[in-house]
Chain length 194, copies 2
């Protein structure tokens, strides 16, 4: 294994940890097994992360940052706020497929962890998504696209809750069929517009 510079090593360790947590569960994965799979010693891993928990926090933050970047790009050349919502929602199946290991880790932690630090970083993640969608809804109000009594926070959470449910079913049981996804998106936006 060639020697990597610090930022690349950190990124590699996050990638390896994501894969192992997704495959064997957070609890069943040790820092020793992550170090081994990454081809480094445990002391080298500990130069980058204080603990396994610290790796989990890094995974979620990397995922949040990537999500925000993808979505900002997706809506950058879409003027109509209703179309912005559709553009992001229609890309969710591919987004979740691409980040499937990270979503396994996130939802595994959400459904099993009692840890305050884990909860803290999950809240950060959902806060960012809430803020992103709230902004689109507020823009939609200004432009007269959405009904005035549509509450931005509730609208944001309508999308977040549906997205969590979609990921839970698609990643673990059966892929929710594309026509169903498209119908659901259409219904959500219809409930928002004037």
């Amino acid at each position: 294994m060639p020697r990597l510079k610090a930022p690349q090593r950190r990124e590699q360790l996050i990638a390896v940890a994501t894969r192992l947590f997704a495959r064997h569960g957070y609890d069943a994965t040790t820092t020793a097994s992550i170090a081994e799979a990454a081809g480094v010693t445990e002391p080298i891993l500990y130069r980058h992360f204080k603990s396994k928990q610290d790796m989990f926090v890094a995974i979620v933050r990397a995922m949040s940052a990537q999500t925000m970047q993808e979505w900002e790009e997706l809506i950058s050349d879409v003027g109509d706020p209703a179309e912005r919502i559709k553009a992001v929602a229609q890309a969710v199946p591919a987004h979740i497929k691409r980040l499937s290991d990270a979503y396994h880790v996130l939802h595994g932690a959400l459904s099993t962890s009692q840890d305050k630090k884990v909860h803290g970083v999950l809240r950060e993640h959902y806060d960012q998504i809430e803020e992103f969608f709230c902004k689109v809804v507020v823009d939609g109000h200004k432009m007269g696209v959405f009904r005035p009594d549509l509450d931005p926070k509730s609208a944001a959470w309508q999308l977040i809750l549906s997205g969590i449910g979609y990921a839970m079913i698609t990643l673990n049981l059966d892929e929710v069929e594309r026509p169903v996804v498209d119908h659901v998106i259409e219904s959500i936006v219809r409930g928002w517009v004037k």
Copy 2:
């Protein structure tokens, strides 16, 4: 522990298993610990259930049956299909709170299990919920309440996905606030009506 008749013993064992699976996880719970907590020997447990997996199947089936019974009662004296959807959705927070252990077990299994039998009983569960909501939507079409292009299956899945997301957040992170729940229900139904 007094001797129970077979159906009561079975019910008691399901209740104890639900509590232990919810608290310690399915994998970390043994049939020995379930028998001990129920005050019986393991051979007595095995008279009622072939395996731990068999207990999981019984938990999900009991939960599905209870859900269907509750919801049928809820809509029995509501004529308008849009109001039926609202009545069921508005009762979801109390429903999930009441069955919180069972939902922990169900979503824990959904996010971690690779087992075919587990997947089979989860599919059964969602199929029943899909069928319940589809029927309400079809009634709504007949009565001219819902827009004709509203797809019943997609409408059912819109509710199922939102419900899974709601339970995941409320049971594990922070309770989704009641005004948000009410706004989301209002938005969903607005997207369905003519």
